[in-house]
Every structure is written in structure tokens, then in C-alpha cells.
Symmetry: C2
Subunit: 100 residues, 2 copies
């Protein structure tokens, strides 16, 4: 969970995810989309991989990166806990009474 939020906490990495939405790409083609050195992009890809947000496969001399949707589900579940479920019985909320 920590790796997940860490990976998402960067505009470049989020853009990479949006790029991969439209299809797999090689590390080089991803790097070409940014005004940033290849090693930097490689590092971003590494963090995305650590978070399981992308998968990579070596294809000859290239490395193909692809989105991994399954981890997104995990995040969605986490967020859902904050959406009070309409089908579930209304729980009384603990309220603090402060002051007089």
C-alpha cells in the first residue's frame, strides 16, 4: 500500500500510467515522451514496477512496459471505505461535544 501511494505521488509517473493506458510501450518510447533523461525515466518505471502498477517484459534488446490494472482494484477498495455504503445499515456516528 505504501509503495502504491508512493508511486502515484509524482506527475511524471502518473503520466506514464496514462500513456500505457493506450497500449504497451518500450522504455525508450516512454522516455521520448518526456523532457527528462532516460535513467530518470528508468527509475520512475522501477518505482511503478515496485508498486505493481506496471509489468515489464524483455523483448530482445527492448523492455516492454504494460499497465497492471489489478492493483488499481486494491486502491479502489481502500477508497471505497470512505464512501458510506447506502445498502448498509446506518451506523450512528460518534460525535464529540466540545465546549458548553
Amino acid at each position: 500500500m505504501n509503495n502504491l501511494f508512493r508511486a502515484l505521488n509524482d506527475a511524471t509517473r502518473r503520466e506514464i500510467l496514462e500513456l500505457l493506458k493506450d497500449g504497451d510501450m518500450t522504455a525508450g518510447d516512454i522516455a521520448d515522451k518526456f523532457d527528462m533523461s532516460k535513467p530518470s525515466i528508468s527509475h520512475h518505471l522501477d518505482l511503478l514496477r515496485q508498486a505493481d502498477l506496471v509489468a515489464s517484459v524483455k523483448k530482445g534488446q527492448f523492455v516492454l512496459y504494460s499497465l497492471n490494472m489489478t492493483v488499481m482494484d486494491e486502491i479502489m477498495v481502500w477508497f471505497m471505505q470512505f464512501k458510506p455504503n447506502a445498502t448498509q445499515a446506518e451506523k450512528p456516528r460518534i460525535r464529540l461535544h466540545v465546549g458548553k
Copy 2:
């Protein structure tokens, strides 16, 4: 969007959100739940407020913090872009052909 992911990229702040799920709390009561100084918690609350994930209201000497669900929706929409919508016509995915 940046503030949002930044705020979420910390275990303590995520725990604070989970605490507030069950009802509003004062800054002090939140701080008591953590093994951390009050100023540190105050700073975490500030980042959560900057991200609009919580709202705060001064009640006399206390400050009451509450969850702000509405921003969660924004995040959900962002995540949804990665979930290929079943009702939408299947778009051909761009595929890279690498190697022979």
C-alpha cells in the same frame, strides 16, 4: 491533484483519514492516537487540509477535523480512466511490434 496524492503518500495521514471515517475529532484527540508530537500531527493535518481531504472548524479552544468525501470522488474518477469501460465501444489498442 498533486496535493491530493502527496497527502495520501504517508501512512500517518492515511490513518488519520481512517480515524475520521468514524466521526469528527479534535486535533488533540487525533494526536493522542499516535506516538508522535502534536506539532507533527498538526503538520499532517495541514497537508490533509491543503488536499481538501479534511475540513477544520474552530470550536472554542479546540479545532474539529472532519473528512471531506467530495475530493475522494475526484480521485475515483482519475482511477476509473484505467478501468476499461465495458459499456463503451471497444477501441483498438495501439500495439508495438518489436523485434522480428
